[in-house]
């Protein structure tokens, strides 16, 4: 029996059109828009100004707080401006715009493809390199990695869990990364183990990627277990993954390390490898461009700051009636209002849905079928939370753990009455969160 998490979950149609595809280098943009906030926490502070020349890997934004991350230039050229640009939500946020000239890298970066396995760095140095390289959670959460690797005093990690579940339908970035860079991923994992001082790591990966499991098992090294998991959404949710791997459930509001786990995405493990062994900052990432709305579903290695539009063109452009463009997967991704926005550190995919797949159906009365309850991986009662939000009954919402909702969308996905459960719950969660913070 394959391991899986123990509460709720759904199995959406996988639609992994680009599965196993080769990673292609995306075209260099003519102009890169690099945001100063591509991570959770405080935005970085710009350390370049208009007219400065930068290379690939030049530090252009400096981490500006405990939870913050460095930002590097992903291209070489001249800083055109430092100003607010529209991001994926449509808000203007401070960014550095670089007009690209050539492709010149900082000399400190080792650009060779050769595998480096050995390092004399100790835990502290590894974490420092990770911080310097501006690495953040690559699965989409974008929490600064070096912070996650330094648990608060009193808490001790026992195990590193590498999240290679890739449970979102359509997306196959992690899959291809593992196929092509299995050794690097494993070395990155070993570095993470060393950084937090544990001797055990588990790579959790959904069993629908058999070739990737094979590839990882071939390079398997001491202390790293490759663990196939049931293909079930949200297997890659941090709490769900820990439950699947360790049979331990994090309590409401607690950190993963409270049960001894530190979870890192497989893309993060690769970035850690590059940062520590190759001295390469986080300036590019793997992006799946897919869906029935694109000509050729593809997997790109794209520089941060490349526009979504140019990636779509790189994949052959739109096909059919253009409907939605989503940054991320269909369950948790964000629908874009414009394709003229740049790829950021957390962009795992661009999903193009044709019009036929883009509209929601009209919602009806709740028939109290409890299917949303059975689907919720956090053991919540989504229809009750929606009702509490609609009535503004914040106490009821709080008492029923609205704060624990992980935005996975399983409830809305399941509801036979097409009720927009998560839309409401999000609102309620924000409100209750504000109230709780106000009390403190």
């Amino acid at each position: 029996m394959l391991k899986t998490f123990r509460i709720g979950g759904i199995h959406p149609c996988e639609n992994k059109f680009s599965a196993g595809g080769q990673i292609r280098q995306a075209m260099l943009p003519e102009r890169a828009v690099i945001f100063l906030a591509q991570h959770l926490g405080v935005p970085a502070e710009a350390v370049v100004k208009k007219g400065d020349m930068v290379k690939v890997g030049t530090l252009i934004g400096k981490s500006a707080g405990f939870i913050s991350a460095n930002i590097h230039s992903s291209v070489s050229g001249k800083v055109a401006r430092v100003e607010a640009m529209p991001d994926m939500s449509g808000y203007r946020r401070p960014a550095i715009v670089v007009d690209v000239e050539g492709d010149e890298w900082e000399p400190t970066v080792d650009c060779s493809e050769e595998l480096t396995v050995h390092t004399d760095l100790d835990a502290k140095d590894i974490i420092k390199r990770i911080a310097d390289a501006g690495i953040v959670g690559m699965g989409g959460a974008t929490f600064p990695t070096h912070v996650k690797l330094s648990p608060p005093p009193g808490l001790k990690a026992e195990i590193i869990i590498i999240n290679a579940a890739e449970c979102e339908p359509y997306l196959t970035s992690d899959h291809s990364l593992i196929l092509e860079k299995s050794k690097e991923v494993i070395v990155g994992t070993a570095l993470l183990m060393k950084a937090v001082g544990v001797t055990k790591a588990v790579v959790g990966i959904e069993n629908n990627k058999k070739d990737a499991i094979e590839a990882l098992r071939k390079v398997k090294t001491e202390g790293i277990e490759i663990l196939p998991l049931k293909a079930r959404y949200p297997q890659g949710g941090e709490k769900q993954l820990i439950d699947a791997v360790m049979r331990r459930q994090i309590q409401s509001g607690a950190l993963p390390v409270s049960v001894g786990a530190i979870v890192q995405n497989v893309g993060t493990a690769f970035a850690v490898y590059e940062a520590v062994m190759k001295n390469k900052p986080l300036i590019e990432r793997i992006v799946t461009v897919t869906g029935r709305g694109v000509v050729q579903p593809s997997i790109f290695r794209a520089r941060i700051g490349t526009s979504v539009q140019s990636l779509i063109e790189d994949a052959g452009g739109f096909v059919g009636n253009q409907g939605k463009v989503i940054a991320g997967g269909p369950m948790m991704g964000k629908a874009l209002s414009s394709t003229e926005v740049p790829v950021v550190k957390g962009t795992s995919g661009i999903l193009l849905l044709p019009q036929e797949e883009s509209y929601r159906r009209k919602s009806n009365n709740c028939i109290r079928c409890a299917k949303c309850v059975q689907a919720c991986p956090m053991g919540l009662n989504p229809t009750l939370l929606m009702m509490a939000t609609e009535f503004g009954n914040w106490q009821l919402a709080e008492d029923n753990y609205i704060i624990d909702c992980i935005d996975c969308g399983s409830c809305s996905y399941t509801c036979p009455s097409f009720r927009p459960l998560l839309d409401s719950i999000r609102l309620g969660k924000d409100k209750v969160g504000t109230l709780i913070r106000a009390r403190k």
């Binding site: 459930q249 109290r368 229809t383 624990d404 969308g409």
Partner: protein, 320 residues
């Protein structure tokens, strides 16, 4: 650039389940029992079902359109389902006008005034049945005996159901187990064949229309409770297997108690609900005045459902 992009919050896909799919799924699951009832009760079964369904649909249509002035809801299938379930709980020789009264009560009193599908407290079909049972006790408790094929409607022999036989003292002329399984015994339309009902149950589980928790906890409870009584005093009480196979128990447990709207939301709540129905059914059957307790038991537990929902929450992630 191109046309505007469509923007909405996540999730961007839907599993494709719908209210209609579930309602029509339940109707399909009722198919085997319906076919058998046609076989046993012939024209009578057909007449009762057609009258009940048409009346429920018509009443829902009228109320929705003229009283509530809201968009029509007929296509969701719930009125048809209420009609079929009501019919399944009626004797096949019931007068047409009584059926219509039952339908009016089910839709016009138990369902629509609360706001239609999703808001009612009581299972409409059961409410209709119990209303008729109280108002027309004579007509509601005489059943035609399933005859030889082709059966006749008007002059079918009327006979007692298994349970009323039981109430008259154990061991009277009980039908053979085989006849109970296949439905060759007196009873309401849909309740006579255990096998047909269980096939429907399997279908609904397979299509994930319902989960097993409510029916199984009802059946286990009735079996255990009546089993204990049987062991204690086999003279007075009958074999628990007969309780499982007889009367509306299977119909109620599989199709009526699992009504989405009127049953609890969490797994633990469903089990409490099922055990409650099982206990009440056994008590009414063994000690009460009515031979048949399922309908009352379910309605009572329907009323308790909001309370169950308050105290039996889904198992929360991270709770002990």
């Amino acid at each position: 650039m191109k046309k505007e992009l469509i923007v909405s919050p996540s999730p961007h896909i839907h599993g494709g389940d719908s209210v209609e799919k579930n309602m029509y799924g339940v109707l399909v699951a009722l198919g085997p029992a319906f076919l058998l009832s046609l076989y046993y009760f012939g024209l009578g079964a057909l007449t009762v079902t057609l009258v009940s369904v048409s009346a429920c649909v018509l009443f829902e249509f009228l109320i929705r359109k003229y009283l509530m002035k809201q968009p029509l809801s007929i296509s969701d299938g719930s009125a048809i389902l209420t009609g079929v379930l009501l019919a399944f709980n009626l004797p096949s020789n019931l007068q047409v006008w009584i059926i219509i009264v039952g339908a009016l009560f089910a839709v016009g009193v138990a369902k629509m005034p609360f706001g239609g599908l999703g808001n009612n407290i009581f299972n409409p079909a059961l409410a209709g049945r119990v209303f008729l049972l109280i108002s027309f006790p004579a007509q509601m408790t005489i059943w035609p005996v399933p005859g030889s094929f082709p059966p006749t409607y008007v002059d079918g022999e009327t006979g007692a159901t298994l349970l009323s036989l039981l109430n008259d003292g154990a061991g009277a002329k009980l039908p053979a187990y085989k006849d109970m399984l296949l439905g060759k015994m007196g009873g309401s339309l849909g309740e006579v064949s255990a096998i047909a009902l269980v096939i429907g149950f399997a279908f609904m589980l397979f299509r994930k229309i319902i989960t097993w928790h409510i029916p199984v906890s009802i059946l286990v409870t009735v079996f255990v409770f009546t089993g204990i009584m049987y062991i204690v005093n086999p003279e007075t009480y009958v074999n628990p297997v007969i309780h499982l196979l007889s009367g509306g128990l299977l119909l109620g447990a599989i199709f009526m108690a699992t009504d989405y709207v009127t049953s609890p939301m969490s797994i633990s709540g469903m089990i409490v609900f099922g055990v409650g129905i099982g206990l009440l059914t056994s008590v009414i059957r063994l000690f009460g005045a009515y031979p048949e307790g399922v309908s009352f038991a379910i309605l009572i537990m329907n009323a308790v459902t909001p309370l169950i929902n308050t105290y039996f929450k889904p198992k929360h992630f991270g709770s002990k």
